[in-house]
Amino acid sequence: MAHLSPVAFAQLGRAFAQRSAAHAVSWGWVEGESTGPFSTPSVGYLRSSPVLVEEATPHEASHEVPTDGGDDDTLVGGASGARLELHIVYGATFGVPLLLVQGYSSAGELWTVSEVRSHLMAASKEGGAPIAADSVSQIEHPALGVPFASLHPCRTAEWMGAILQRESGDAPQQLDYLSAWWSVLAQSVGQRVAPADARAWMLSA
């Protein structure tokens, strides 16, 4: 079993965001906030650049000429897609990273959890381990307080332990937990990432 402390999560999160510039999905690290002199500051979180996806039921784009607002040089109509917003937060219950997903339709409307669920289930069929229906549920974003769909993390520590063991032998602390974790999880949201860049898994690198 391999768990992560909040402090380690924040350290890895910052480094993970910095290294993500070369990837199609890049990450920003949002620092945690201190709410008062006696409260422990919240753990920060990672947010992705938007992940564009095909919309299950495409929004009919009309091709009317705009009444105002634009001008003759404004292109009207055209394709638009749905998008996923991914966040990685610290899952305090399990002591592991937690992938949170929000989906938005091309019209900008928030997907329901079941819409996210069916998208993830479909995406995971194209590669990697299939996602079970009951592994996607709604939780509240620990920092934002808004509902996100979450991939339940109950086995994370278990398979992360296996990976870290295999890749590093006796020195699991040398591995970048977060990068290794994401390389496995990414396919669940239809992302194909390299397992890691060069020695990204190695903290010492």
């Binding site: 199609a24 607002g69 634009g70 404004t74 292109l75 394709a79």
Partner: protein, 701 residues
């Protein structure tokens, strides 16, 4: 020459932004509708056919660029949150847009925009937040200065037709290292291709020097990160870049044209993964191929004469279109997602599901949640049982009680507060149900103010119809629920609910307290109605050798002393609910025979088990000993509450039978044959009564 059409930004507002806006309005802005600085960001289009959205998320209120993913260009914006829908409609949009356009123009004129290209991406967000209904109206404007240069642009050509593969890889690397220096992707930048074909990428501010040193326009290009994926059109940021050419003498006057690159190159991806991901089913790492590019180049023809220093800004456009492609606001309705009740419900569900995921895959949360519970008695036990049921996710809980909340109640009865006592006329059942709804609004909490008719408590003629009505109402309640909890504080008040549960074959659980001892018992339910009594478990009355009678008068049995140690009710209530949940997981549910973990005989005898553990018949506990003991008692064929004789008589005569039982203290004993038995066991009865009069707890077993 056909004029160039620009694809507008597709604005994408996150729910997190709106809730943060709501939070700030409540705690910070108040009624102020002064402009607030925010930030937005977009990534370049890349491989996808879909335009890359312009995102405003929860972090939009943070200053600087921290927290924005490094592939995204950051743009400064102005938020205007108005207080009413009327303000939203009446606000002078043209003036607002022109005001921001003016600032963009000034930054271009001063040269500031050359150093900080993102200033040309200033945007406006006009919002109205209806915080009560979680409805938000918003309208983005991306001010674009309209300049004639747009009319002099030739159609886009693919970058691949101008640069070799090697040069394009150099472009990507140059862009990556410029991004790395700045910490993020620049919205605008410059490209130099020298005479030998060597390609270099630099900041926007490098362009003027590069152009001056160039022999031909092919050697120095302007470039921008383009959110538009179309091969036939450029995206919105190009508009103000063209305006910059009017504001500043950036392109040499003698140049016939200038090349502008709409940068849409793919991200280089991971460099060299040597790591083996076997067993994880990982796809091979993606590497962007050189030919994999949607970048286009637009050639804009001169003349390039900068406008005078004090020239007024060109006309501006840029209010966004709504979903029907008309200029207009969009709406986001979060009432379904942000409704606090829905949030509470989802969280409660998740908590219970965590239990299943983490610890017990066999847990059937849905079956527990779907179980409706009738709580007869809304006192210390009723309150504690209800809270524990809520914890398990039970959604339907009905209280039956005839009392009102008294001043002594709230300290022990966990659903009441001081306020409930004032006036002395708040019915307990209703107050308890209301408290449950306050705790968890999604619960279906009901209340019935019913007095429970009791054997040995004679019913006068005047009361007869009310008592009959109460009995019928209680029967309807028993029928309507799955599990009946008997939580009153006198013995005889448990008689009618016991009988009704037996008659309607419902699972009944009894909790009874002495001063420092407790009994939790589930009443036996026959597998088949005709099953012999010995094969099923007894009820609360089965162990009796006297029928239930007025304990207030006789003072020998049971709960005349209703004062028990305060922790006792909590312990007993919790045990009762856990017993119910364990039973619900047993394949035979209420009909399961008594069974205990560690009880080898039972373990080998009965195959069917509850994954949660044993399903004892009775749990007896003693606080002085800090010990609970499980016991089994068979049904008694002369039981005054659950025997076939009594149940049949009730089924046959109904209220008539009940009235006889209430009015005559010996009716039930006569009916079941107990009277006769008593004569034979007089001596033993004396002995029992002697023990019982110590009144030190549960003494009726």
């Amino acid at each position: 020459m056909a004029s160039l059409k620009f694809q507008p930004f597709t604005a994408a507002l996150d729910v997190g932004f709106l809730t943060e806006l709501g939070r700030r309005k409540l705690h910070e802005f108040g009624l102020s509708d002064a402009p607030v600085e925010i930030r937005g960001s977009y990534a370049r289009a890349e491989r996808h056919e879909i335009p890359s959205p312009f995102c405003v998320g929860a972090d939009a209120f943070l200053s600087g660029e921290a927290g924005v993913p490094p592939t995204m260009c950051v743009a400064p914006g102005t938020l205007l949150n108005v207080n009413t829908l009327e303000d939203f409609k009446e606000l002078d949009k043209t003036r607002l847009l022109d005001g921001i356009a003016q600032r963009i123009w000034e930054d271009m004129k001063s040269g500031e925009a050359l150093e900080r290209g993102e200033l040309m991406l200033r945007f406006v967000l006009l919002t109205f937040a209806d915080l009560k209904s979680h409805k938000y109206i918003y309208w983005f404007a991306f001010p674009a200065l309209v300049v004639p240069a747009a009319q002099r642009a030739s159609p886009p050509v693919a970058l691949a037709s101008l640069l070799s593969d090697t040069q394009r890889l150099a472009l990507r690397e140059g862009f990556a290292s410029l991004s790395a220096t700045r910490g993020r992707a620049p919205a605008f930048f410059a490209v130099r291709v020298d005479a030998s074909g060597t390609l270099e990428v630099g900041p926007l501010s490098a362009f003027a020097d590069w152009a001056a040193a160039s022999h031909t326009p092919a050697e120095a290009w302007l470039a921008f990160c383009d959110p538009c994926p179309l091969l036939s059109n450029p995206g919105w940021p190009l508009r103000n870049l063209l305006a910059l050419l009017t504001a500043q003498q950036l392109v040499p006057r003698e140049w016939p044209s200038v090349r502008i690159l709409a940068y849409r190159e793919p991200h280089p991806g991971a460099a060299a993964p040597a790591l083996h991901a076997d067993g994880l089913g990982l796809p091979p790492p993606p590497r962007a191929a050189a030919g994999d590019s949607r970048s286009v180049v637009i050639e804009v023809h001169g003349p390039f004469d900068a406008s005078p220093r004090d020239a007024p800004p060109p006309k501006a456009v840029g209010w966004s279109l709504n979903s029907s492609n008309k200029a207009g606001p969009r709406q986001m309705d979060l009432s379904a997602q942000m409704d606090p009740e829905a949030l509470a419900e989802a969280s409660v569900d998740l908590n219970l599901r965590l239990m299943r995921w983490r610890l017990m895959p066999q847990l059937d949360n849905e079956a527990v949640a779907a179980t409706s519970c009738l709580l007869v008695g809304a006192g210390t036990l009723g309150c504690a049982v209800a809270r524990c049921l809520l914890g398990w996710g039970v959604r339907t809980i009905t209280f039956v009680d005839s009392g009102v909340v008294a001043y002594s109640n709230p300290v022990r009865q966990s659903l009441f507060t001081f306020e409930d006592c004032i006036g002395g006329d708040t019915p307990k059942a209703e107050a308890a149900a209301a408290a449950l709804r306050r705790i968890f609004p999604c619960v279906h909490a009901g209340a019935r103010r019913i007095g429970i008719p009791m054997p040995g408590h004679p019913v006068s003629a005047a009361e007869a119809s009310q008592v009959g009505e109460d009995a019928r109402e209680l029967e309807r309640m028993v029928e309507a629920h799955d599990v009946i909890f008997l939580l009153t504080d006198t013995r005889e008040s448990r008689w009618l609910p016991t009988l009704l549960a037996a008659a309607h074959r419902k699972l009944a659980l009894t909790v009874a307290l002495g001063f420092d001892s407790l009994v939790v018992m589930r009443h036996g339910m026959p597998a088949e109605p005709a099953a012999p009594p010995a094969s099923r478990l007894g009820c609360y009355f089965c162990n009796d050798v006297v029928g239930p009678a007025n304990s207030m008068l006789r003072r020998t049995l049971d709960q005349q002393c209703t004062v028990s140690r305060p922790g006792l009710a909590m312990v007993a209530s919790a045990l009762a609910v856990e017993l119910m949940v364990t039973l619900l997981h047993h394949p035979r549910r209420g009909a399961a025979d008594a069974d205990l973990v560690g009880d080898d005989e039972a373990a080998s005898g009965e195959e069917a088990k509850s994954p949660l553990g044993g399903v004892p018949h009775q749990i007896r506990g003693s606080l002085p000993l800090f010990r609970t003991t499980c016991m089994r008692g068979s049904a008694f064929d002369r039981c005054t509450a659950c025997s076939a004789t009594v149940v049949d008589a009730f089924r046959e005569k109904g209220v008539e039978f009940l009235r006889s039982a209430f009015n005559s203290s010996s009716y039930l004993e006569d009916l079941t044959g107990l009277t006769e038995m008593h004569r034979e066991t007089e001596a033993k009865l004396e002995e029992m009564a002697g023990l019982a009069s110590e009144c030190d707890g549960e003494d009726d077993f």
